[in-house]
Symmetry: C2
Subunit: 340 residues, 2 copies
DNA sequence: TTGTAAGCGTTATCAG
DNA sequence: CTGATAACGCTTACAA
């Protein structure tokens, strides 16, 4: 039923090792036989048996994408889920399958990374998760498998030891704030999220501070108000901090969904945006174009990020340019729409 | 470095086959040695080598989840992505890894199902996709691997041949409409999506018709208006069909996100909901609680669905109760909130 | 109840 | 350039 290299060998009248070499493009096979064998393989609908291949020391054809499930589909996880679509997209093009999982078993807390390593199920790790243990990074390193860290720096591992592709969250916060200042805002509120595990929001807030300083605007602690990354919390911001909002002329929301909720509430109250108050979001989620007015936001180059990460991990798997780490921090940029 | 059953055998002072049997819970091994071996395996941090295991005819430990990527994160794919979280959740508890992929290669259109089959990379298929070819279903059947169809019936395969777990979309449309009628609505608009590939919306519309008929309300073609499953299309419904909306006292949106957009527009126009107009959505997405007023909607039992499907595929993989198909259609139910 | 040995499909080493 | 052959780690008759 299943066709193996031996079946092909029989048809081609050669040994199975010749078939293996031919299909793996070994230089020691003559072009003629190579072509013949490849033809036969194609017509017989041959695919390498994944188990056998991995057993005899070659690739599994699988990449683990390790992420952190957050159950709010509308918060930061929205960005991650979009990023994931891009990742799978590139990997599929390279004929890699994706094993998607969380870092730790939901019940036992056992490390999925260490399990996959011992099972030898994958050829590399793409990590979109900042809370992987030092121990796990070390296990991966000992195994010799490649890791690429994505989106955010790890907390329990020195990032210099890794290949990584991040977006510059500090710069994101800075350009967002600077943009509002250049639009004439003087009293700017920033709204990070209450997801305190994520370094990214701290960085955006630092960028916010930096922009204020650059423009000689004194920083005020009370103008940093963290709320959950949900529509509803954005919506009810007027209820939770009315005095602050009354004295503000610009808001930098650190996720789009918060801004979305806020915009709805603002319109109900007749607040004119951007005339009375300018608003900028973060992520450039598809939802931005849906708001009314359409949301000005900070775009994170998720597609580029995914592409770089996939190219890199494939290179590492194939031992190309693997003597040194590649570490890139991409700049976000502002997408000007109607709220600013 | 990697620990194998031979290493364990050496420590335990038995043969590697005894170790294999013990760890696989073979009845022919004495409880004493079994315990001893399991202990050693645990302390040595042993895991079966996935490649070797699959080669020698046993399980890969992988399940393919085949879905259809839709790039609008806020439409029907939202429901699917939530369903996927539930699926992975259950499978992870059973120590299965998930290979998530689309049915067909984005560039070549080659079947991923047929590839996985030939590569022998997975133990079973969970299909959340209605456009898989007949040919692929046949390949799976020939391979002897289990398939469970989820959420929606396949278009190119007779569903009676499969194990499946669906929600009853017809009934969903019917109860939604019937509920509006019992709230006093007489002229009810329904808004399916323009995703014409998906049978589910046709079924919901049929359910809508049935409810009208049950209540002796004449069906009118013009009261079925398909729009994209986006916030914005919902929002602009007033612009696209003003006359129709003026003469309607209830709306059954077939996805929540459409209703969400509509509600925003309605409030801007001072339309009182539910007093002037009652609205019901579909899916019970997290966003429902975020709308103002909160959206009454049809809840699809996604968690239950995921659980049933995972249990079933595990049973099938282990050849339990596999003589006949299990086919279940779950009923959705209404979650009453504030728009009705 | 346990051990021995063959075999799964592939790659790699060594001859020729 | 090609063919035998061993090896990868595991399961499973078959023997004991």
């Amino acid at each position: 039923m299943k066709v193996t290299i031996k079946d092909i060998a029989a048809v081609a009248g050669v040994s199975h090792s010749t078939v293996s070499r031919a299909l793996n493009d070994s230089p020691q096979i003559s072009p003629a036989t190579k072509d013949k064998i490849k033809d036969i393989a194609r017509t017989m609908n041959f695919e390498f048996n994944a188990g056998a291949r991995s057993l005899s020391g070659r690739k599994t054809g699988n990449i683990a994408v390790v992420y952190q499930a957050k159950y709010d589909q509308f918060g930061s996880s929205l960005y991650v889920s979009q990023l994931f679509i891009e990742l799978r997209h590139f990997l599929e093009r390279m004929d890699m399958d994706v094993i998607l999982l969380e870092g730790y078993h939901p019940d036992t807390g056992a490390s999925n990374i260490s399990r996959l390593l011992r099972q030898q199920k994958v050829d590399g790790f793409l990590i979109v998760h900042n809370l992987i243990t030092k121990r796990d990074y070390e296990s991966i390193r000992r195994s010799g498998l490649p890791v690429v860290q994505l989106h955010m720096p790890p907390i329990y591992c020195n990032k210099e030891e890794l290949d990584y592709f991040f977006t510059d969250h500090f710069m994101g916060g800075r350009i967002a704030t600077d943009y509002l200042i250049r639009q004439g805002c003087k009293k700017i509120l920033t709204v990070p999220t209450t997801d305190f595990d994520s370094e990214e929001f701290k960085l955006r807030t630092q960028g916010y501070k930096q922009a204020l300083e650059d423009n000689n605007i004194p920083f005020k602690e009370e103008l940093v108000v963290a709320i959950d990354s949900t529509y509803l919390k954005g919506y009810y911001l007027f209820n939770s901090i009315p005095e602050i909002l009354a004295n503000v002329d610009g808001i930098f929301f650190q996720t789009d969904i918060q801004a979305f909720g806020f915009l709805t509430a603002a319109r109900e109250r007749g607040i004119r945006i951007p005339e009375d108050l300018k608003v900028i979001g973060y992520d450039d989620a598809p939802i931005c174009e849906s708001t009314n007015p359409q949301l000005t936001t900070v775009h994170q180059p998720r597609k580029k990020l995914a592409e770089l990460a996939c190219d890199r991990i494939i290179d590492l798997i194939n031992k190309r340019n693997n003597e040194s780490r590649i570490q890139e921090v991409l700049f976000p940029h502002i997408v000007v729409r109607e709220t600013s």
